[in-house]
C-alpha cells in the first residue's frame, strides 16, 4: 500500500510497485484523461504532470512517485470551470477524435507553467514526443498559443482582483 497524491488528493494505492502510473490513474483512481496509446513512451497520449514536469505515465512505475505531486487533465479544470488550456482547446476546436489531446494538453500546460510566452518553434519542439493521427496539428498549435494568451489574461484579472480595495 502506497500513498499517491493526484490532483491534490491522497490516494491509498494497492498495486505492485512496478505498475505504471497510467494503470493506477485509470484503473485504481478511475480517471479518464490519460490514455493508453503505446505503453512504450512513443506517442505521448498518457502524459501527465509530475512536480511540474511532463511525464509519460505509461513508462513511469509507481515506485518512483512516492511523495510527488501528480496532476492530470482532470486536475486543471472542469466542464463548468475549464482551465485556460481547456478553454483554448475548446475555442480552437482543436480535436478530431481527440484521443491524443489530453496528453498534448498536459505537456503544453507544463511548458506554459515554465515559459508563459513560448515561441511557435518552442511549442513544436516541446510537442515532439506526441503523435496525432487525425492531423489536427495546426489547431493544436493555435490552441497552445491561445492558452498562453488566456493564462496571461487570467493572471492579469486575478492580480487586479487581488489588488482591488
Amino acid at each position: 500500500m502506497m500513498t499517491l497524491k493526484v490532483n491534490g488528493i491522497d490516494h491509498q494505492i494497492d498495486a505492485d510497485p512496478d505498475t505504471p502510473l497510467l494503470y493506477v490513474l485509470r484503473d485504481d483512481i478511475k480517471l479518464n484523461a490519460a490514455k493508453f496509446g503505446c505503453g512504450l513512451g512513443q506517442c505521448g497520449s498518457c502524459t501527465v504532470i509530475v512536480d511540474g514536469r511532463a511525464v509519460l505515465s505509461c513508462v513511469t512505475p509507481l515506485l518512483l512517485l512516492e511523495g510527488k505531486q501528480v496532476t492530470t487533465l482532470e486536475g486543471l479544470g472542469t466542464l463548468e470551470a475549464p482551465a485556460p488550456i481547456q478553454r483554448a482547446f475548446m475555442e480552437e476546436q482543436a480535436a478530431q477524435c481527440g484521443y491524443c489531446i489530453a496528453g498534448m494538453m498536459m505537456r503544453a500546460q507544463a511548458l506554459l507553467q515554465r515559459n508563459p510566452k513560448p515561441t511557435d518553434e518552442q511549442i513544436r519542439s516541446e510537442l515532439e514526443p506526441h503523435l496525432c493521427r487525425c492531423g489536427t496539428h495546426m489547431r493544436i498549435l493555435r490552441a497552445v498559443h491561445r492558452a498562453s494568451r488566456l493564462m496571461d489574461t487570467a493572471d492579469a484579472s486575478s492580480a487586479s482582483q487581488r489588488s482591488a480595495p
Binding site: A15, D16, T19, P20, Y23, R26, D27, D28, K30, L31, N32, A33, K35, F36, G37, C38, G39, L40, Q42, C43, S45, T72, L73, E74, G77, T78, L79, P82, Q86, F89, M90, Q93, A95, Q96, C97, G98, Y99, C100, I101, A102, M105, R124, S125, L127, E128, H130, L131, C132, R133, C134, G135, T136, H137, M138, R139, L141
Partner: protein, 748 residues
Amino acid sequence: MNERIKASVILDRRRVLAGGGALIVSFSLTDALAQDQTAPAAAPAQNPPGSLKGAPFLDSWIRIDADGSITAFTGKAELGQGFKTAFQQIAAEELDVPFESLKVVTADTRLTANEGYTSGSHSMQDSGTAIQNAAAQVRELLVAEAARRLDLPAENFRTENGAVISSDGRRFAYGDLVAAGMLHVQAQPKSKLKDPATFKVMGLPIPRVDIPAKVTGGVAYVQDMRLPGMVHARIVRPPSYGAQLTDCDTSAIEKLPGVVKVIRDGNFLAIVAAKEFLAVKAMKALSAAATWKETAGLPKQDDLLHVLTSLPSQDSTIFQQNNPSAVGQKTIEATYVRPYQAHGSIGPSCAVAQWVDGAMTVWTHTQGVYPDRQGIAEMLRVPPASVRCIHVEGSGCYGHNGADDAAADAALIARALPGTPVRVQWMREQEHSWEPFGPAMVTKLKASLDDNGAIADWNFEVWSNTHSMRPGGAGSMLAAQHMSQPFAVPAPKPLPLPEGGGDRNAIPIYTFPNAHVVHHFIPAMPLRISAMRALGAYHNVFSIESFMDELAGAAGADPVEFRLRHLDDPRGREVIEKAAQGFGWLKGQQAPQDRGFGFAFARYKNLAAYCAIATEVEVNRETGRPRLVRAVAAVDSGQVVNPDGLINQIEGAIVQSMSWTLYESVTFDDTRITSIDWQTYPILRFNSVPESIEVHIINRPGKPFLGSGETGQGPAAASIANAIADATGKRLRDLPLTRKRIKEAIDA
C-alpha cells in the same frame, strides 16, 4: 424482410404507441427486426432521399416526446469527424428548434436504423440527407396537426423555436401536438426543405458537442467505460498470419495474482484479470508460455511492383472512349507504386462485452454496428437478435482497423464469463501487426500529346486487392478465424463502380478523346488488408495527378492551366481556380531556392466532394529531407452544414496524407510483420508540421451534401509529389517519398 414480418412489426409498434404519451416510440421498445427496414411493405412510388430509402419511417430518424424533448437518430458512428454536431444542426434547422434543444443518438442495433458502415464519406449524404428530410416532414406533420385542431389551412401557420404558431398568434408547443403513431409513417419522396437563405443553424461553425468532455477528462471513449464488476482481458495473438498454437501450459499463469481465467479456443488465446495491469503482466507470461508453428508466406517487401503484377488477376476494362480523329504525337509512360500502409490509430482497439441470459451486448468503436452484430452472432452461433452492438467512440480509425476484431474478442471472452462485463484493449504491437492494412497498389500510365499540347489518348491500369474485408460474416474477424472450429475468411470481392475499390477514381474526371482504363483485381491477399481512408482513390489520384504534371511538363504547359484545358466540369474548374488563386499560383512562377510548388485536384469517387490542393515543399538537397511548407486547399462539398467541421476534415486529410506520402510503409520479412510500433512505423511528428494550411470553401446552398472526409487524401499526396518534382527536377513515383529516395534521385 417479408410482408408478414413487416406487418407484425408495425402492429406491435402501434400497440406500444397506443399506450404511451410519446409521439413515437424509440426502437428500444420494439423488436430488433424493426431496424432492418430494407424493403418497406408499401414503398412510395418514388424513393425518398438518402438513407430514408432503407429506413423509410420518419420515427426511425426523429422522435418527439410529450414533454417536448427531441431526439434525432442516426445509424452512422461518430469517429471524430464531427458529424454528430452537424446532424444536430440539420435536425434543429429543419425542425425549427434551437440547436441545444435536441440530442443525437448514434449507431446502436437496438435504437437506430441500419445504415451499414460509416464509410466512404457517406455520412452526410446518406444519414444527413435522411435526417434533413425526415425533420422537414415531421415539421409539416406538426403544422398539419395544428391546422387540424384549429380547422384552418396549413398556410396560416409557421414554426418557430419548437412551436407551431397560427397567424393570429395561437401557439402549440411540439410536445403538445404529439399524438400516438403520428410519426410512424413512411417518408414522402419529396420534402418542403427550408430555403437556405433562412437558415439559422445550418451553415454556422457551431462548436462540436463531443469536444468539452474530451478536453476535461470526461467519459468520452469506449476505453473509458467502467461497468460494475468489469474485468480486463488481453489477447495473445499468434506471432504471424496462420501460425498454429502447438503447446501452451497455462497452469502457472492461472495461479498468477488477479488472474480470473485463461481462455484457449484453438489458436485464440486470452487471459482475464481483475485489474488491467495484472492482465498485461499475465498476457506477457502467457505469451512466453505459448509455442507456435509459423509458416513463411509473405512476399518480398522490396519488390511490390513485381509481386502485385505477377499475382493472378481478374481484369476488366472499366472505361473506354474512342475518337480516331485525335492522334497523339508524343507518348510518355510511368509506373507508380504504393506500399501497404497502416491506419495507425493512436489508441489500440478496445471493446466491452457482457453476456447475460443468452444475450450479448458489445460496446464497440466499429464503423458498422449491424455488420458486427451479424458477424458476432455467427461466431457465437446465436441469432442476430441475441446480440446488440452499441457504438461508443474510440480513437480515430480512418477505415477498418482493429475495432471489429476487438469487438469479436470481447464477445468471445465475455461468453466464457456469464454476467461479467469484460473490457479488452489491444496492445500497441497487436494493433500495428494485426490491423488490416491499406492494400499495396500498382498503376501503369501511358498517354500521348497532340500537336497542340492536349492529351490525345490516355491509358490507365491499376493492380489492387479489394479494399474491403469488413465483417458481415464471422470469417472477417480474427477471433472467429482463430477458434478451434474456425470460420474461413470470405472470398474477396471487388467493390462495384461507380464508387469502386481498387479502381476508385481510376476513371479520369478529365475529358480525353481516347481513354482506356483497366482494373486488375487481385483476389490473393498476402497481407491482411481492408478499407483505409479513400481506398484506391489515394493511389489512383496520386498517379493521375502526378502524371498530369508529367504531361504538362512534356507539353510545356502550366500545371493548373493544363488541368483546366482538360476539364469541363464547372464546379471542378471553380475549385481549381479557387485553390490556385488562394495560393497565389502564377503561370511561369519560380519557387524560391530548394523549394517547389505543386498542384493537384480530384473529385472524390467522381461523385462526392471536389478538392484542389496547392502546396509549397522545401527539399534539403544534402539530406533529401522534404518539408511541406504550406498548403492551400479549395473544397466544394455542396451545401455546407458546419464550415469549421469541414475545414477540420480537410486540414486533417492534408496532414495525414502528407504523413502517408512522405514516411509510411508497412514492413515485413518472409513470415512476420516487422513494423510493430511507432519506432518501426514512423509517422509525422511536430517538427514536420507545415507552417500554414488554408482551406477555402465553396458553399453551394441548397445543393446535396457531398461527402468530404476522404476527398483530400489523393490530391494532397499528388500535390506534394509535384512540388518535390518542381523543387528537385526529379520525379518520384514509388510511395512513400522518403528522404532516402529523394536523396538518391537528386544524386542520380
